[in-house]
């Protein structure tokens, strides 16, 4: 196993023999590692019987000890179509601002700022959406990145059934459970509040 570890700059083979995956780049017609880690080659199962046409994909993967360690030392960035978990920090009539803390099921080291614009809250009847009846500061929301946005914000969307609020507290501070796609109910008082609720799995 000692030999399987590579460092950045280390050549892994000619560029024609592999399809470059993650953690590698091409220089001088060679596949070169760009990370410290293990070399992983995945044969590309061709749909036909003759597999010769599809060279295997070669990647370098940095192994991690525990998920906790991974989360603290993550080089993860949100990208378009990433699914994220975020916490609503501010709302106004046009948009809800959120702090992204999970990207594709991995916790990020520093929170990224995202916005959910009013037109991206819901798939249908966009004109009727009101931010105030969809999100409240402190709500935990599952969303999808739709654009890298401007210099400070990622643009998020909850316009899908499985996206929206997944955890929220009522005005009196009690936790709530979803009762339908647009309402949540307080555990203690039974008060019902409006939210854009994500469909529970």
């Amino acid at each position: 196993m000692m030999t399987s570890l590579v460092v950045p700059g280390q050549p892994l083979g000619v560029a024609t023999a592999y399809v470059p995956g993650t953690g590698v780049h091409i220089f001088n017609n060679q596949i070169i590692a760009s990370l410290v880690g293990k070399v992983v080659t995945i044969p590309n199962a061709s749909n036909t019987a003759t597999t010769s046409s599809a060279p295997p994909t070669i990647s370098v993967v940095k192994p991690v000890l525990t998920p906790e360690e991974e989360s603290s030392s993550s080089t993860l960035l949100p990208d378009v179509s990433s699914t994220v978990l975020c916490r609503i920090t501010r709302i106004n009539a046009r948009q809800a601002t959120a702090a992204i803390f999970v990207v594709n099921d991995r916790i990020v080291g520093d929170e990224f700022q995202g916005v959910i614009r009013v037109q991206d809250v819901r798939l249908t009847e966009i004109d009727k959406v009101k931010i105030f009846t969809s999100f409240r500061p402190g709500d935990i929301v599952r969303a999808r990145v739709i654009s890298l946005g401007d210099q400070s914000n990622y643009y998020l969307s909850t316009a899908s059934n499985e996206l929206g609020v997944i955890m929220a507290s009522s005005e009196s501070g009690d936790s709530m459970y979803p009762i339908n796609w647009r309402e949540m109910k307080s555990v203690r008082t039974g008060a019902v509040e409006e939210r854009k609720v994500a469909k529970p799995f």
């Binding site: 196993m1 000692m2 399987s4 570890l5 460092v7 950045p8 700059g9 280390q10 050549p11 953690g23 780049h25 220089f27 070169i32 760009s34 990370l35 410290v36 880690g37 293990k38 940095k62 192994p63 991690v64 000890l65 525990t66 360690e69 603290s72 030392s73 993550s74 080089t75 960035l77 916490r87 803390f101 080291g109 520093d110 929170e111 990224f112 700022q113 402190g138 935990i140 890298l148 401007d150 210099q151 400070s152 990622y154």
Partner: protein
């Protein structure tokens, strides 16, 4: 998941304190580690001690020791850009580098604010690393490299004092080693480059190649310059890799070269030469010096490769071993 606003103004230390790293491989008590011996051959670099993953609250870190130089590097990010209106959209990661001597790192105390030589070291380090990082993979983010020099050999000592004889005019030509400060800074810079590469690799930031630092100095016999025999003095030139701050007895340094070198690509990412190099034979004198520095950088690259692999190797081994132990000294 507490709704605590993260403090983005500063790089925070771990919330739970740290345990000082214990390096099992260091078998000698620190008191027996002698400062640099003069017996080292000129083409050999000092022993480098390099470890990664010591600081738990940052993405990547490293600690380097080339007696007596000690420095630690933290890499933060890729993290969000500061939320100011003036920050432009960044299609690729913005790299920032910062080199700071601890106030107690040198004979003469340094202040807490970075002085011009520290800022200059920071920009040299930036130059060395910026080309090697695949910044285009990390849009809208910044990568911070913070180097703290804990101990260093420096120019403030007695040996480096020009003694002006009592009753004698001060402008009598006295031998002075003008390149001394640069040599000291050069060794520091080379250490910073190597350690920062290790920390970047530890952070899992994609790079085209690792950059290792190398230093070399060219010396001549001290009393050589008196005669006019300039043409013939190339034989007497002595090239020293990873030079100690005090030149060998009877030798006078001419020039020092520091570089960041990407060994796998055979490319120099940063070059800093200071001193006097003749051009009678074109750039031959300079090239020889540069080649020596490259050789020094190649030597440190070996250490760098091992250090970069070390923690990953540990993880691989641990994952494979079926017997679970409570050994946590290497977790970061």
């Amino acid at each position: 998941m507490a709704a605590k606003a993260p403090d983005r103004r500063r790089n925070n230390p771990p919330s739970h304190g740290t345990n000082p790293p214990v390096f099992l491989s260091t078998s000698l008590p620190s008191s027996t580690i002698k400062p640099e011996q003069a017996s080292r051959p000129p083409n050999e670099i000092r022993k480098i001690f390099l470890r990664t993953g010591l600081v738990s609250s940052v993405t990547g870190s490293s600690f380097l020791e080339i007696a007596p130089l000690k420095l630690s590097v933290s890499v933060l990010g890729p993290r969000p850009l500061p939320r100011t209106s003036t920050t432009p959209f960044a299609a690729q990661a913005i790299l920032t580098t910062e080199v700071k001597f601890a106030p107690f790192a040198s004979t003469v105390r340094r202040g807490y604010l970075r002085d011009s030589s520290e800022r200059d070291l920071g920009s040299r380090l930036y130059q060395s690393l910026v080309g090697a990082i695949r910044r285009e993979l990390y849009p809208k983010s910044r990568i911070e490299v913070v180097v703290t020099i804990l101990d260093s050999e420096d120019e403030g000592d007695e040996v480096n004092t020009v003694y002006m004889e009592e009753g004698k005019a001060a402008f009598e030509p006295t031998f002075r080693d003008a390149g001394r400060a640069e040599r000291a800074l050069g060794v520091v810079l080379a250490g910073c480059i190597t350690a920062a590469s290790a920390a970047l690799a530890d952070a899992g930031i994609e790079m085209y190649d690792l950059v290792s630092g190398g230093v070399s100095t060219v010396l001549v016999d001290q009393f050589d310059g008196k005669g006019k025999g300039k043409e013939g003095d190339s034989e007497k030139r002595l090239y020293v890799r990873d030079p100690a701050i005090a030149p060998p007895e009877g030798k006078k340094p001419l020039a020092t070269c520091v570089l960041g070198y990407m060994a796998a690509r055979d490319e120099i990412s940063e070059l800093w030469i200071l001193g006097k190099l003749g051009t009678k034979n074109g750039t031959a004198e300079m090239e020889e010096l540069v080649d020596e520095a490259i050789a020094a950088a190649r030597s440190s690259r070996g250490v760098l490769n091992e250090a970069a692999k070390e923690r990953v190797q540990f993880i691989v081994d641990k994952a494979q071993s079926t017997t679970q132990t409570d050994d946590t000294e290497m977790t970061g």
